[in-house]
Symmetry: C2
Subunit: 218 residues, 2 copies
């Protein structure tokens, strides 16, 4: 399995998770930041290897074999991100690029031992669940902050957009995983919110509140 094949597999897995429908070629190309013709070529190769089912013009779906491989790559990605933050003083907005490389290292022992070294973490630095050795992914109970009503309280458990720009913005507002968040006010006009994060009271836009996940506590 080549690096490029693994990246496509991961992209297709994520797209399929979102819609639970067969994935259009253009969606793959967009996610991979490549051309549709390249995506077609790759999809044909992966189909040849029985990692996915592909019908021309009908899009693709991963086979169990393809899914299982994609999940392994995601497991590695999230374990490495955890290592970078926990042990090498990376911040959560710096880890993605490096994990994007590390996720392709081939060694069962390495990943097993890394998991052990980290103490079998359940989630990565962005709150995303780390698949276990058998490929099971725990479902994390979460709601978008934007859905909470005035006076509602929750704990920050993840982000939808984990781009460096958004994560840095959250750092500036002192919002991080595990923080207690309370909705003070919701502005109907633009859907912005005034929230209390631990001790601080701040205002955030609708765009931001739609990208923050919380576990409701009240």
């Amino acid at each position: 399995m080549t690096l490029s094949e693994e990246n496509y597999l991961k992209a297709i897995f994520n797209l399929e998770e979102q819609t639970h429908k067969s994935v259009p070629t253009n969606a793959i190309a967009e996610m991979m930041e490549t051309k549709a013709s390249s995506a077609t070529d790759m999809v044909k190769r992966l189909s040849e290897k029985e990692l996915l089912k592909y019908k021309p013009y009908q899009g693709t779906r991963l086979t169990p074999k393809g899914k299982s491989h994609a999940v392994k790559v995601i497991r590695k990605h999230r374990l490495w991100e955890t290592f970078l933050v926990e042990n090498l003083d990376f911040s959560w907005d710096e880890v993605h690029e490096v994990a994007e490389q590390l996720e392709h290292i081939q060694s069962d022992k390495l990943i097993h031992q890394l998991d052990k070294f980290l103490g079998y973490p359940k989630t990565d630095p962005h709150g995303d669940p780390i698949p276990d050795e058998e490929g099971n992914i725990a479902k994390i109970k979460k709601k978008v902050l934007a859905e909470l009503q005035q006076e509602d309280e929750g704990i920050c458990v993840g982000v939808d957009d984990s781009s460096s720009a958004f994560l840095k913005y959250l750092d500036k507002l002192d919002i991080s995983l595990g923080n207690k968040i309370k909705v003070i006010e919701k502005e109907a006009f633009d859907n912005s919110m005034v929230i209390q994060v631990e001790e601080n009271t701040i205002s955030i836009s609708s765009l931001a509140s739609k990208n923050i996940y919380v576990r409701k506590t009240s």
Copy 2:
């Protein structure tokens, strides 16, 4: 810089260190386990990028730029090997393959932080010096065990052959880095030796004793 280019650079660096002469194409091909024609192609590409000087039929020598890059890859290789042994319970005969992949991960911060995390180790699990951030490689004072005379004593500081087979053999004999070794007897007939390693007395062949490095202490 591609993975393959980095592997060639490292191979050429090592060959040049051995002989301090310009490196023949066949030697490169042999070390890379590839064909001479492939080595020629790659050497031309690296020459194009000014990482080495290549004159047809005359062999190649790395430029300072090429050397510096090779040393960076070696630094990464040895830091990762150290991490695997120190933190992930790998044994010294298991690390090479994985480090061979990890050495190509591109991130200055990663390698700087890994070095810090490990406590700035001076040598890797095979006793080889780890180049510092500026590319300086400490010279390790060492002698092959085979050169010691009867009654001489030393400390095991490295191995020449770090193949898995040889390292496992050393494990079986309980020889590891830092062990005190004393020459009890040298057999003129086949150059085998009887040595005392810490508390154990064992006999080793000439081939083995030529692949073990010691720092003489008496």
